[in-house]
């Protein structure tokens, strides 16, 4: 698929997404068109004890749209990639589920989010969690490394979803699991709206 085949320009969309989530990282209590933080985690059914154990910095910028752990709990020792890890909330939940024998790699493209997630990992002394700068369409992970890939509200923000799913297949081992949350619409969106890049992030 070429850039001309896509509904919106991927790089322009990335810039808008970075701008939006930079705000969420820096000023998480500002008003956004979506919920954030601990109230959102409760609304989405995350385990209270797991969320309560995390420091505010790990939770306040959480802006997911569902619960990627609701259909399957990660298993101890699994290797996990978190696409669009943001300030690290889902990566830290994953880290608790896989335990110290497992590994979690969070990938994000927003520097302010990466700075928060890395600082929290240090604060929590979590050596089995790492955060890398990268794109969903070009994950900085070797072929077949992951037992599971998670993501939350990120793939809908990618212009080329086929490329993202192909990349997820590349990093998963045979038999590996993709478990993610995202939004879906029940009514047809008009073509002009699909090409309105402002609607993708707002």
């Amino acid at each position: 698929m070429t850039t001309d085949d896509l509904l919106v320009d991927p790089e322009t969309l990335r810039e808008q997404v970075r701008d939006k989530y930079r705000e969420v990282a820096i000023d998480p209590h500002a008003r956004f068109h979506f919920h954030t933080g601990r109230p959102l985690a409760a609304k989405l059914g995350y385990e209270n004890a797991v969320v309560a154990a995390l420091p505010d910095r790990a939770v306040e910028s959480f802006a997911g749209v569902g619960n990627p752990f609701s259909l399957r709990r990660l298993q101890p020792g699994e290797r996990v990639v978190d696409i669009g890890s943001g300030a690290g909330f889902d990566s830290f939940v994953a880290a608790a589920q896989v335990g110290r024998e497992g590994r979690v790699i969070g990938v994000d493209m927003t520097p302010e989010m990466l700075a928060k997630s890395r600082a929290t990992a240090v604060q929590l002394d979590l050596h089995h969690v790492a955060f890398r700068d990268g794109l969903a369409e070009a994950l900085p992970v070797v072929d077949g490394w992951a037992d599971a890939v998670i993501s939350n509200g990120v793939i809908n923000l990618c212009a080329d979803k086929q490329a993202v799913f192909a990349e997820i297949r590349r990093v998963l081992r045979p038999g590996g699991v993709l478990q993610y949350a995202d939004i879906a619409n029940g009514r047809i969106v008009p073509p002009e709206a699909l090409r309105d890049i402002d609607l993708w992030t707002g």
Partner: protein, 44 residues
């Protein structure tokens, strides 16, 4: 799209009113937008 991408054993969880009570609620309602959990497996 998951099956087109070669994934199998696809499961979809119940809808979650992700934007309910947020300022994005009006736009979400206009297109019946909800959050969902998905799971799928890469074939052996």
């Amino acid at each position: 799209m998951l099956d087109e991408s070669g994934f199998v054993d696809i499961q979809i969880g119940p809808p979650v009113d992700t934007f309910g009570g947020a300022t994005g609620q009006e736009k979400a309602r206009a297109f019946d937008v909800y959050g969902y959990a998905f799971s799928a497996r890469k074939p052996e």
